[in-house]
Amino acid sequence: MARRVAVCAVAQTGFVSNMWQKRFQQMCFETVESIVKQTGVDWNEETGIRNIVTCSDDVFDARTISDNGITDAVGAHFRGEEKTAQDGINAIAYAMACIMSGHDDVVLVVGHTKESQTESRNMCSNLAFDPFYCRDLGLDFEKGAALQARAYALKSGISETQLAKAVVNARRNAAKNPLANARELVTIEQVVNSPMLCDPIRTLHAYPVSDGAVAMLLAAEDKYKEYTDKPVWLTGWSNCMDSYFFGDRDLASNFSLKKASAAACKMAGVSDAKGAFDVVEINDAYAYQLAMWAEGLGLCDENKGGEWIESGILETGKINPSGGMLAGNPIMIGGLARAAEAVVQLRGEAGERQVAGAKRAVAQGTTGPAGQHQAVMILEN
């Protein structure tokens, strides 16, 4: 049996739309400093951190092999460092595998993105497409999401009001989360009347441009006590890739998320996702995704995401207590931030937004056009 893996601490910068005062190196370093302060972990190569797993994006950082430029800031000087692609939630999984395998006892995870550094995040995600076909047609993650939003609306019949309620919930929860970016309350009317960005996605349906960094310290079950008395266990994990080209897939099928969710639940011994989680953190960069990913995670029945939004579940405060991605986390670390909130909740440290008695949480991460990559992590205390 592989060793169990505990999250010992998390650290997040606040998320804002333009962290102009800082280089992204400083954003990273501040989270690392916080981890050290919380846990007393050191850099002893025998007993401390000797391996760091990072997540960052070359285009947003404007340098190839982006992790090379942050090694000092993430403490990776003169030791191992690996960068993961896709969402930073994959970095947690990589670190988890390092520990489960016995290769490492303590691993630091650091993810960052500074969306504001670029003229337009859409120009960056346009570069995620093939260079002479989709890119020339003007696709980017936002346009891809709009195609998927349309496909999902046609399939499920989700209404404008239901979409608006996803945003209203995000802001209501974010108002209680001092780290969140978009914390102003909005009404259903404001959302449904906000200007169309990319039909059917309205301005308020889209997550705000965001900067920030997240760090996490993981340790093996026989080592965590040195760093925390409130361990959060990583009990389930999986991820799945869908096709790269839109024409090859049914955008409304949730195929990759269903696969990832089923495998993560199996690993964690969860037989039915419905009702299994006290805290749910969904990587909803756009409003329709709260409903669509909820279906993919198995939290509600197929095509019932809209009804699920109106079922009263959002009012319990258990769904995206952080405010979710809609409240503003940068691309690449949306899932990492979801997992961070799950840890905060399971440690009982979420303050005003604390879900009472939270025992088990699920965090979802996604990257790529229209959720090509999907990752699901289950955490328990």
Binding site: M19, W20, Q21, K22, R23, Q25, Q26, F29, V32, E33, V36, W43, V59, A62, T71, D72, A73, G75, H77, F78, K114, S116, Q117, T118, E119, S120, M123, C124, L127, P131, F132, R135
Partner: protein
């Protein structure tokens, strides 16, 4: 003759008249001169007079409208599309003197050089398939040998032994052949490929048959037709050019930001680690070794000592502007005065100092008059010679 990408410089010029496109040269009255250096190079004059062209190798290039100078490899590479012409020009590998517009126009005056197709069929290749092409149903009861005497380059002698409905191929000619075909290798290939009529070949004496003519007449049935291996068409695949460009705005933060502010004041600021005392320039927020915040700023230099010098002779174009730095130029690592340990600063060296500057020499910055808080506030470092 030296070849580059399988093509010699002579190949390019020798085919130029054949590649001339009258419709692309309308109204052109010019003399294009080429000075190709290196192995296989030489000098050529290409005279274009409206609807005619004359290509001549020469020693005298005077009187040209435009002169292109390049090394042989670059010249061939650009002509056959293996080297990007613009890039070669930008990096100085191609030099153009005179009416530059004619160079672009010449692309319309001549079709691109393409490699002559080599025949993939050889005599050996034909005989390699002979046994497989044997048709036993058409050779029932035959007990004979058929000789082939293929003369000239690529030829050879073979004997096909037909017996008991089987065919064996031997090299050399058996004495007891029922019939012997004698033909030149090139004609034999043409015969086999159907490009040369057997009757015509016999009538003209290019194909000689000795022995039993009846057997000779049966041969086309005894052996199935030779199918030449499919030639791989060298297709010109489309290459798409795109420029990637996203405008960025980089925060400099409280540490690197102070360094840039310092440059405006003609000061070079390093940051100092509060734990180990190490200094970094350009400064960064963190001392990588101590993993702590290192925000104390100390003025260093501005003079220093060269620890490393590197001279660049081939400069890559800037990916966004396409502009290429003039070469040669030198980058130097400098241990600024007061820096303490071994952490060096690096910048450019004044071109005039390039020839005689070495490790250990003293240098000082030459400041720009228009300082805005950028690495270019220092134009370069120059030798202190007093």
């Amino acid at each position: 003759m030296a070849k580059y990408f399988d093509v010699s410089v002579e190949d390019i010029f020798n085919t130029m008249e054949a590649r001339f496109r009258v419709e692309g040269a309308k109204g052109v009255n010019a003399v294009l001169a080429y000075d190709i250096s290196g192995d296989g190079g030489g000098k050529w004059l290409v005279e274009v007079r409206d609807d005619s062209v004359k290509v001549a190798k020469t020693d005298d290039l005077s009187g040209f409208s435009v002169k292109t100078s390049a090394d042989a490899e670059t010249f061939v590479g650009v002509n056959i599309g293996k080297i990007d012409g613009t890039q070669a020009f930008m990096s100085g590998k191609i030099k153009i003197e005179g009416d530059m517009a004619l160079v672009a126009a010449s692309a319309k005056m001549f079709t691109r050089y393409s490699l002559p197709k080599k025949s993939a069929v050889t005599v050996q290749g034909i005989f390699d398939t002979l046994v497989a092409r044997f048709q036993p149903q058409n050779a029932a009861g035959l007990d004979i040998s058929v000789g082939y005497d293929i003369t000239g380059d690529g030829g050879g002698q073979w004997t096909a032994v037909l017996k008991d409905g089987k065919c064996a191929l031997e090299t050399g000619l058996r004495d007891n052949c029922a019939v012997v075909n004698s033909v030149k290798a090139k004609d034999y290939i043409d015969l086999i490929l159907g490009k040369l009529d057997p009757m015509v070949a016999m009538g003209s004496g290019r194909l000689k048959l000795k022995g039993d003519m009846n057997v000779a007449m049966q041969l086309p049935k005894i052996f199935a037709k030779f199918e030449p291996p499919k030639e791989e068409e060298e297709q010109e695949l489309i290459v798409i050019k795109r420029n990637i460009s996203v405008d960025m705005k980089y925060s400099t933060g409280p540490v690197m930001g102070k360094f840039f502010e310092g440059l405006i004041e003609k000061k070079i600021l390093a940051n100092k680690c509060p734990k180990c005392g190490r200094m970094q320039v350009p400064p960064r927020e963190v001392c990588a070794e101590c993993r702590c915040w290192a925000g104390d700023m100390i003025e260093v230099g501005p003079s220093g000592t060269i620890t490393l010098i590197e001279i660049i002779y081939y400069s890559s174009p800037d990916p966004l502007t396409g502009e290429t730095r003039e070469t040669p130029y030198a980058q130097v690592h400098i241990l600024l005065d007061g820096i303490g340990k071994e952490e060096t600063f690096w910048h450019l060296l004044k071109n005039e100092d390039l020839a005689d500057t070495k490790k250990g020499d003293r240098v000082r910055p030459v400041w720009s008059d228009n300082r805005v808080g950028s690495v270019h506030d220092i134009i370069h470092f120059e030798r202190i010679r007093d």
